[in-house]
Point group: C2
Chain length 475, copies 2
């Protein structure tokens, strides 16, 4: 059974990586408007992952982790400018994905795959970081977030590429109406995906499509047909359009007769951005806080695997999963081994997906250069806590709006390394009730967790940080 | 189609009324452990209500509303001892359901139904309030919550009845082990339900079964077979046992060949009791606060209608519903008209259930004698806010643990009657972002809401309060 796919030369792999859509944004995860019929159906035809995580609660490092199978602290997608601060690739950053990193498409290429990225790259905008230099054969999208419009003095608007060529810029050539929220980018991304799939099917080429859409990232947008259709406002309109697009892509695979040869995975790069909620940000359901934080709301992700004829319909998995696993799992689908010359953090999820196995593995919650927390089984230990600084908070920037757990959602960086804050995520998924330090349960759980953390620390060789920002005054 | 059931002389009606199980406790509503396969399947075979409410965020008034189809402020299940305070029927209270109220089983009896209540009555414990004096033909259960054990001096333990006869007491004859959480009461309640259904089916009698279980009310319990089976701890064990029992009852109806003649509705009497969480209380998902409050967490309920062959499988309804609707809907199922001599607040949900209609109706959120809030469409206006008092809060009693929305989850009773706090529950189901008073949206929505509230107020004739407590010093 597990070998079936290895014999198929046309096996294809398709990933949807949604920008900061939260766990609570899907009907199947309890969004009360229940407006994601296609994703809900994808789950009912495939397998729902309830305990799936990102490798970092921010976009760039999360994407670097997905494509390298390695923690950002290893692949360099972090900063040492400050302690426990996430970093990404704004226009003025000089860093990006190092050549020394082996990306998933580079490896798949060797097995004859044609690789395309549609949407946001986010691994550096300088020429040496171009996706086509890192294994992708095709690209339609942009190196950065669609922030803007910029005034074209300090910064130009973000460019949009087709392959090597810059074909325009957001706001100028690819309109985003900030007032109405109208933009037809998701429709363009959808068409790019459908066309690529058709082309590969026609030429009988195995393919890897990385569909990295961004409509749910502020400034949130939707195309005219979807504007005003959601109970949830503009953010919901964007979710509905993405949901509709996922449905169309799955249908396309079915119509082409290749759905049983195509492994599809839907997930998100970080939790919903509660700083942008409710107009420009989504929901993490009952989980604590959101994007940027190492609480569950920042890192637990909606996740669905779909592969008709292989994955049992309606399956539900409690396997602890991580976006880095998509690296290893995709290699496994292609019959490839992960590189042996470096530490790979992702695991092969196929035994969990196809045979319902539960693989024992920890989840590490990093924020920038610091391991903030670790999950082992149902226990999560926080070695450091903080939400965001008092300075930001006093200006109205709140990573945990409406939520306040005393001593947990702290506004200063609190060290708990000698006596970590421990939560049982089964009884308390919202991280509200730390276990008593004096309890037997705490002692037993921390013994197990400490061993895991010690092992992690002694084998950890951090990569050269790529996302440090130079002092502009010095530059 | 809608007349189909009227012609069936064996049409039966079956209600599950779960003690303070919250919206977020069901897998289908996003509980992350996903441990309610039977309820989830019930939803996939029936219709899920996403916007269903109780009539009061506390047990007794909610049950009185269910059985009378009337708001507690009309049927007397409230107190004027203090402003905006919920009340129930503790052992020392002298009040109960007035004889002047017409209960659902009294009316169904006239149409030949045999009525049984299994579990908690909660409408008064003195002889004149006995369920068999108010239309029920059979009772297995108790008049009150299973609090205890009592010392048998000031108070005896709560009695358990079979019909007219007291057959024992909790802790003495019906064991609840507070240390382990073990009690086999749900199994007893299940057997009572199965036996009653078998008996009615054998005698071809239409029946109404009100299955008012209480395992998820503190002190939470589960039978031995379920103890330790949930990721969620003891509370989850109790939920699993209830879920399993609901599955067995539905299966029993199917095995007896009467599932297409039996309308089944699952809901809860109030939101999860967050004061008891996480060990003894459940989850309201992303909704604000819990039991006792008029925020969504206190009053939005999980709700599923099931009637194979009549209700389209997998249906989802946004109809604003209320437990009081079960009164009117059940009468409609039995071919009866609601009483014409009094105000009935419940509406007939059958058009929503069978034809997918959306009936425009408001939801009133009462706390004791005060209308705290009202929902019209997707807007909810708070005329009064408070969670619980500073005095209670300072003692560690918190109705909104981990949640704090400035100016909303207030610890003093705040009046907003001249300028209500307005929320859009589609964009903001968590009631975190009040609309600007100055916005056009606020003005437009409040015009509509004010008319509804004015109409409600001029036609409101409060009943004699039944739940006032006498001054013990005077007694």
């Amino acid at each position: 059974e597990a070998l079936l796919w290895k014999s198929k030369s046309t096996l294809t792999s398709f990933g949807v990586f949604c920008l900061q859509m939260g766990w609570g944004d899907l009907g199947v995860f309890g969004e009360p408007s229940k407006e994601t019929p296609n994703l809900d159906q994808m789950a009912s035809e495939g397998m729902l992952f309830l305990d799936f995580y990102t490798a970092n609660p921010l976009c760039s490092p999360s994407r670097a982790a997905l494509l390298t199978g390695r923690l950002p602290v290893r692949n360099g997608f972090y900063t040492t400018n400050a302690h426990a601060r996430n970093a990404y690739t704004p226009q003025y950053i000089v860093g990006g994905i190092p050549d020394s990193e082996l990306l998933l498409p580079e490896l798949l290429k060797k097995a004859g795959y044609v690789n395309k990225i549609v949407g946001k790259w986010h691994l550096g905008h300088r020429p040496q970081f171009h996706p086509l230099k890192h294994g992708f054969d095709e690209w339609f999208g942009s190196p950065n977030c669609h922030f803007g419009p910029f005034d074209n003095r300090a910064f130009p608007n973000i460019p949009v590429y087709r392959d090597w060529e810059m074909i325009g810029r957001y706001y100028e050539d690819f309109k985003i109406d900030l007032k109405t929220g109208e933009a037809n980018l998701t429709q363009i991304y959808l068409q790019e995906a459908l066309d690529f799939i058709s082309k590969q099917q026609a030429s009988q080429q195995p393919f890897f499509l990385y569909w990295a859409i961004d409509a749910t990232h502020a400034p949130v947008y939707a195309s005219k047909h979807f504007l005003g259709t959601s109970q949830r406002g503009l953010y919901g309109d964007a979710v509905r359009e993405i949901d509709d697009s996922v449905g169309k892509i799955l249908k396309h695979l079915q119509n082409l007769g290749i759905s049983e040869n195509t492994f599809v995975f839907f997930t998100s790069d970080n939790g919903a951005a509660l700083i942008s909620a409710p107009k420009q940000g989504g929901s993490n359901g009952r989980f604590l806080c959101g994007k940027q934080t190492t609480f569950e709301g920042g890192m637990r992700e909606p996740a669905i695997a779909w592969w008709p004829g292989h994955i049992p319909a309606g399956g539900v998995s409690h396997q602890l999963g991580n976006v880095m696993d998509l690296f290893t799992t995709s290699l496994s689908l292609a019959g490839l081994q992960p590189p042996g010359d470096r530490q790979i953090d992702g695991i092969d999820l196929l035994p969990a997906i196809l045979q319902g196995e539960l693989i024992d593995r920890p989840i590490f919650y990093y924020r920038g250069n610091e391991m903030m927390a670790v999950r082992v089984g149902l226990y999560k230990a926080h070695y450091w806590t903080w939400s965001n600084s008092w300075e930001e908070y006093s200006k109205g920037v709140d990573f945990c709006p409406g939520q306040n757990v005393s001593g947990v959602t702290t506004h200063t960086q609190e060290e708990h390394t000698t006596l970590p804050l421990l939560f049982h995520l089964g009884r308390d998924p919202g991280e509200k009730y730390p276990l008593s330090f004096a309890s037997n349960e705490y002692q037993r759980a921390m013994e197990r967790i400490s061993a895991v953390v010690q092992q992690h620390r002694v084998t950890m060789v951090p990569g050269e940080p790529q996302l440090n920002v130079c002092d502009k005054a010095v530059m």
